[in-house]
């Protein structure tokens, strides 16, 4: 896709055509889905969080739209790390866009096994999903609720990983900033936030049943953006490593806002529902428009606001 130099950047030695990242969990269970996002303007993609073994996820309904937001509980469906990495390898035959391999486990030893698999793959980064909110009935509270667990896992993975290590953090804890600091101190090369908010619940009053089969689901979409902007602002002020900011970004102006909160790159996920798969191209055009109107040379010139 032809894109303006104004949007390009270098992120951890990888050239990116634009600052938009397809986050884990959206359009990413297969090489085709990730290629479709790239074809439509994504600058970097994340493969669906993979576990050691395949998971079918929760039965439907798995999503529900509410005013200004989506609630979802897919249940970490994925084909397992080996097949997931095959998808990344196939993706790389078609595209040189960088890929983040996201992994999920519940203990250090499984995270290490996943890391070893990713080491031998064509992925460019490894992301530790420490914050899936939708499997707590199975696995308990997400790991990123505990700064000790986050530190232990990041430290262990960092010592084993050949790739830069990202930690994906939850907004649903009292001490996001403290946990972000712990993750950085343990060696995380970048932080990814926020995962979905809540979780929340929607009841179908006609059926007198929860709409989501898992009862509760993580909330994403425009309504959560102020929470994401606030946490990215606070975390980026507290750590030195780059922050990939996400949560409710739907327009070019939202991306600029996220960069002004201190993010280096911006995730675009649920916006696909609101604006179509070509939301990436639309947002890129909107960013350019903002840059031009404000006489800014490059998107990389937009820095965290001082306040």
């Amino acid at each position: 896709m032809e894109q303006s130099k104004k949007l390009s950047s270098v992120f951890m030695n990888h050239a990116l055509a634009n600052p938009l990242v397809l986050p884990a969990g959206v359009m990413d269970v297969s090489h085709g889905s990730m290629l479709f996002a790239v074809e439509n303007g994504a600058g970097m993609v994340t493969m669906k969080s993979c576990t050691l073994e395949p998971r079918s996820g929760h039965p439907g309904p798995v999503v529900c739209e509410i005013e200004g937001a989506m609630i979802n509980a897919m249940g970490l469906c994925n084909p397992g790390i080996d097949r997931g990495l095959e998808e990344i390898a196939t993706f790389k035959k078609f595209s040189d866009v960088p890929v983040i391999a996201s992994v999920f486990a519940t203990n250090v030893s499984d995270f290490l096994k996943l890391t070893q698999s990713v080491n031998d793959s064509s992925a460019d980064f490894i992301e530790l999903n420490l914050s899936c909110p939708n499997v707590s009935s199975e696995f308990g509270t997400p790991l990123s609720a505990s700064s000790e667990m986050v530190a232990e896992i990041v430290r262990a993975v960092k010592s084993e990983s050949k790739l830069p290590v990202f930690a994906k953090l939850s907004p649903n804890t009292h001490d996001v900033i403290g946990i972000a600091r712990e993750a950085e101190a343990a060696g995380a090369d970048a932080l990814v936030l926020i995962n979905t908010v809540g979780p929340g619940m929607v009841i179908d009053i006609d059926a007198r049943r929860p709409v989501i089969s898992a009862k509760f689901g993580g909330i994403s979409g425009p309504a959560v953006k102020p929470i994401a902007v606030k946490l990215v602002y606070q975390v980026s002020g507290a750590v030195q490593v780059p922050v990939i900011g996400m949560g409710g970004i739907t327009s070019g102006r939202d991306v600029i806002e996220m960069l002004m909160a201190g993010a280096s790159l911006a995730g675009v996920g649920t916006a696909i529902y609101y604006r179509g798969i070509d939301v990436f191209a639309k947002i890129n055009a909107e960013i350019e428009e903002f840059l031009e109107m404000n006489g800014i040379e490059s998107v990389t010139d937009i820095k965290r606001i001082e306040c």
Binding site: H31, G60, E67, R83, D206, V211, Y273
Partner: protein, 270 residues
């Protein structure tokens, strides 16, 4: 905004081939080829194409294949289900209206073709070839509610209509060049056979295809078809022959709920 409707089942009709047709109130703006997600909040949520659309009613013709359809088959008039939709890119009725059309249907795939045949204006000329394994599997074996230019059945065992599949009928007795468009819906091996046979003709074709579906609103990526990644729930379920030829996954494999590939019988696993 997307919402779920509680819809009462107004009637249940048993069809040939173990299918059942469920009638509900039409509170939607829906066109043939589109689908709905239906749940009972206990046995999952599944996609269903409409098999008949009238101004005040929609119909779904269903085969029992899993826990949700088993539950649905136990339901009768007066029971309710929860429905969201319609979703997807249905048939281009404006383009097809008034044209000479060849419909090739197989199994449950015949349902959306029926809704299209009945939906198109009367001056449209439709030849409908309806295929199944045997007489007992044939859906709508007695034709549709609207007059067709031609309606014939084909069964693999010859127990009804012509012996063979819909492609055999085309080869033996249909002049493809006399049609403006081919519209086909059915099991993927049948669709593949259709694609392979018609590739040497220049008649444009539309295919209705199926993939495992979860969100139905284009964000989970579960129903993306490799390598282009088009989503059956948004860009599909109706695809042009041109797009289908870019989908190397088609006819070779499909993915299950985990995203694991399952190869079609006879397709190469490499």
């Amino acid at each position: 905004m997307d919402r779920r409707f509680k819809l009462e089942i107004l009637s249940v009709t048993s069809e040939n081939g173990g299918h059942k047709t469920f009638e509900m109130k039409n509170v939607f703006d829906v066109s043939p080829g589109q689908f709905f997600m239906i749940t009972d909040y206990e046995n999952g949520e599944k996609p269903f194409s409409v098999s008949r659309i009238t101004p005040d009613r929609i119909f779904f013709t269903v085969k029992e294949v899993g826990s949700f359809t088993t539950k649905l088959f136990e339901m009768s008039a007066g029971d309710s289900v929860y429905v969201r939709g319609p979703y997807g890119n249905g048939f281009n009725c404006e383009l097809l209206a008034g044209k000479r059309l060849l419909f090739l249907g197989g199994g449950c795939g015949t349902g959306p073709l029926r809704s299209l045949a009945e939906f198109l204006p009367a001056e449209t000329e439709i030849t409908f070839i309806n295929g199944a394994r045997s007489k007992d599997d044939l859906l709508f074996k007695d034709g549709l509610a609207v007059p067709l230019s031609d309606f014939c059945c084909a069964t693999d065992d010859g127990s009804a209509g012509t012996v063979g599949n819909v492609v055999d009928v085309c080869k033996n007795s249909v002049d493809l060049n006399s049609y403006d468009y081919i519209v086909t819906s059915g099991p993927e091996p049948m669709l593949c056979a259709v694609r392979d046979y018609i590739s040497s003709f220049s008649v444009p074709a539309f295919y209705l295809i199926e993939r495992y579906m979860k969100c139905a609103v284009g964000i989970c990526g579960q129903c993306s078809v490799d390598p282009v990644g088009v989503r059956v729930c948004v860009e599909g379920p109706v695809f042009t022959g041109e797009m289908l030829n870019r989908l190397s996954e088609f006819g070779v494999y499909k993915r299950d709920a985990s995203g694991t590939k399952h190869y079609f019988k006879g397709a190469s696993g490499t």
